[in-house]
Amino acid sequence: MSAMADFYDEVLSHIRYATLEERQAIRAELEGHVEDRAEALEAAGYDRAEAQSRSLAALGDPAEIGRALNAQLSPFWLWLGRAAVVVLVLFGYVLLHLGMASLIDLMDYHEPGPVQTVREQLAIRRGTLSEVEPGGEAAYFWRSGQEMQLGENMVRLEAVELVPIMEGTEVYQGRFIFCVYHRDLWQEAAQGFLEYLTVTTETGSTEAEGLGWDKGYQAEGWFKSYRVWVCEALVVPEDTYVDVRCDCYGLQGQMRCPLRWKEGAL
């Protein structure tokens, strides 16, 4: 078998202008020829090894065969084929980048209004709303990002703003900015969750109600895939956390959100 492999390798070593498929085809045909002759010799009484050896010898000089085959092949078509592959790869690369650019354009598409581009929609799922900023009278402000899951929707506490209700007092109007979004970017966020959201302070001084859809800060995302809601509650420095609860559509969720008095001081 080694002598046969060496023979075919010698033939192919003299063939420069052939594709891999052509080389394999040439090898297969020569192997078939040797096998055909060997079968005839075995039928005439030779043993297998002798038959193969004689068959191989009958083929002739492998170098001569290889050179003669190479003379029949044209480098033009080989290089044309390789050039075509390069062109296709480059074309695919350009298309990929054009496609990526188009996708990026799509991600920046937005309807009039704040925080409605796809990129910002995705940012919501990774972090807090970018345009939520403290008001001029706020004494404390921090971004939270703490969230809880209710079915296929997420309720996230985006940010907290504390505004003194009266100068000289340590009682603050706490504005808890929530965002609810559907886990599927293209699905509309549930509206009811925010209406049934309650915020209870540690000292239980108050239980806030949502401001209502037509009051306070509100926004809707692209295809209404997220909604923003503000709950207000009075908080005092003794409150180290608030409990956020939601009971809606048979789904219940709750989370305890710490009040960051130190980090949030403005």
Binding site: R37, A40, A58, G60
Partner: protein, 110 residues
């Protein structure tokens, strides 16, 4: 008799294929048999000839299963090949007539 080198290999291969489709080893054995072993070519050199004929469109090839189950590559004479064969045959006959005409003028050798 001294074995002759083949100068008109294409002509001989095309002639064989004009009768039936053949595979490589079969072409070799038929060539030897029909020429009464006058033409015994180095078997490996048949394949460059076949490749040249395929490239020119004179033959086309296909695979068929041998009795042993192996795949065999068969060659088939195309219409273009038949036209080429007619031309080659005419050229050979003209050549042969010319040679014979010269030989017939030579004195008989003892």
């Amino acid at each position: 008799m001294k074995k002759k080198t083949i100068d008109h290999t294409d002509l001989l291969v095309l002639t064989l294929l004009s009768g039936e489709d053949m595979y490589g080893y079969q072409i070799i054995t038929e060539l030897s048999r029909r020429s009464d072993h006058t033409f015994d070519m180095k078997e490996g050199t048949l394949y460059p000839v076949l490749h040249g004929l395929w490239k020119s469109g004179a033959v086309e090839c296909y695979e068929a299963e041998a009795p042993t189950g192996r795949k065999r590559k068969y060659y088939h004479l195309t219409r273009k090949g038949r036209d080429a064969l007619k031309v080659e045959q005419e050229e050979w006959r003209t050549y042969a007539r010319g040679v014979e005409a010269v030989l017939s003028t030579a004195p008989a050798l003892g």
